[in-house]
Amino acid sequence: MDLNALIAVMIILPIASALFLNLLHKKDRTIKIIAIITAVVLPIIPLLTPYGSHFFGGYLPLAQNSTLAQGLPAIITGTQLSQFHLGIMYVFSSAQQLMIFILGIITFFAIFTFINETKKPSGVYAFLLFMGTASLSAILLSDDIFNLFVFFEIAALAQVGIVVASGIKDNYETALKYILIGNIAGPLLLLGIVMLLGVTGNVNVTDMIFSIKNGFVDPQSPVLLMALSLITFGWLYASGLPPFHTIKSEVYSKALPHGAALIQAFSVFTLVAIGIIIIRLFSYNPFTHIAIIGISVIAMILGITMALMQTDYKRILGYLAVGELGYIGIGLGLGTALGITAGLFQAINESVITSFLFIGFGTVLYKTRTSDTKKLGGMMYVNPKVALLVLLAGLAMAGVPPLNAFQSKLMLIQASIQSGLPEIGIIMILLSIVTFMTFMKAFYTVYMRPKPKELEVLDNKIPKSTIISLVAFLIICITLGLFPQIATSSLQTLAAGLV
Amino acid sequence: MIEYVLMIITVLGAIIALMQRDLLKAAILTGIPGVSIAFLFQYLLAPDVALTQAIVGSAIVPVFIAITVLKTRKTEEEIK
């Protein structure tokens, strides 16, 4: 049996399960069972799948596809045209394996906490979560840039759905804002993609690189530059870097905790996927790296300083998540093998830690039904175990050894010094300290200061599954912190291929 | 020759639709650029896309917007 077909299963399984769950209305038990089974299987598939590529419809390039090439004139089969990919191609290697595994883990715990925290789990919400995961897996795997765009639009709609379903005050307004802004940025991203198509005549990234490298296309042509700038703009929208940081952090804060955990994982992995494509296509242009670094530095500074000014703890986390995205961008922008490895490693760490924080602080929302830090306090006495776990998550985010972000941030600083830009290392250290301060401010106001009289703590017990999820995230953090080579060894191949 | 007329109709139709004060008129006028773009697609050697665009651009989009306008108009009158 051809195990490469499992690459397609990674996308088909969550979509099929999502569509099926959507049909089941009010059958709570069935929904629970199916959702849990799918969520358990999701992280396992990438571990079983062998590395390789999958051609949809079996359309191999003509050079390897003798039945299709039969009878075609030499103008097609004899030239480079026969090397081009005909259908949609998915590439699966060790880096994709790790990232989809982590995405699957986060999806699993999001579904797990969602099912146990809500009394009547709705199939539609699970549909949205699975749909998002499926499209993100496709974005990570796809070598076809238009396929990426389609799944990207699906992911955006799924995010809007998650926000609409949350039931938090003013969530409809946020959803409408996000979708309106997405309707400006999405078509412009598509415009960039089709400009690439117009210049190279292809939508497959490998083929486009082939065309650019082999002189079929003038690398300095203005249309190519326009495509680069429009795709960069779409990348900013997709990952929530400035000027999209306000809307993205608002989206995080208006989703339920498990939804927010998943949405931020979506942003992180879209940033990685599209960022890698930009670097693969345009690394011949030195300005690409400068622009990525510049945008990332702005994202870090704006995200973290704005986080300090907020009073809603979900908004604080949202802005901190945006600030952390800047670290990943810097890793990609440095352009050295070490830098890109560090950036990808930081992406994995950040998606885990931020999910950890969102779900951890989500217990406060579960207990008190408020997220305003002005009204909160004294949660330490209500729930000391969760408080300890959240504190550890904050330490991890700030980069305290032996937790995982320490390793990736150390690598990032080493990479920046190696590339002759020690200033970036200094900024990163400075902003890490401020991140920790911001986190401690939120932690103090929510957990440590005396409880305000008006605050009512509901009597419902925090489900065991939430605690289990938090502990599992902590275990991942410690494992990656103590043995970073587990992650870096699988990321190195991809990073080395990008230089 | 016909294509230049269509292009002018498209741009002018878009501007006129946005300049309407009455939202219902604006919604229905949205169909004009939609249809002329469909004809342009036909001219630009894309007959299958032209069919889709003719349905979506001339029927679905204006009707959706018009329904929204009608429904929102009702609530606005109620509040007044």
Partner: protein, 102 residues
């Protein structure tokens, strides 16, 4: 009426935490921008010195920056759209300029 409401919102008691947070944010902003400007040395050292001086002067003149920055980055849709279109212009212009000059 609305102005009065706005004033009432602004006049909320500023606690120690918000004040110190604002101060810290301001210091962070200035410090990190200063360090980031040092990277201009790769283009030209004299330009770096001029830019550092400019940033320092702006920081002193426009103090306090943070409340203004906070007010600019609100959740108003029109505001967001404006910044997004400005950013689009900046990105496109920068890539053209950057490719000609770097």
């Amino acid at each position: 009426m609305r102005e009065v409401q706005k004033k009432a919102e602004e006049d909320q008691p500023i606690t120690n935490i918000t004040a110190s947070a604002m101060l810290a944010a301001e210091l962070t902003l200035i410090a990190s921008v200063l360090v980031a400007v040092i990277m201009v040395r790769l283009i030209h050292p004299v330009l770096m010195i001029i830019m550092i001086a400019a940033v320092l002067i702006i920081a002193v003149m426009a103090r306090p920056i943070m409340p203004r920055l906070r007010k600019e980055q609100n959740d108003d849709l029109n505001n967001m759209m404006f910044y997004i279109v400005v950013a689009l212009g900046i990105v496109v212009a920068l890539f053209y300029w950057g490719n000609l000059n770097v």
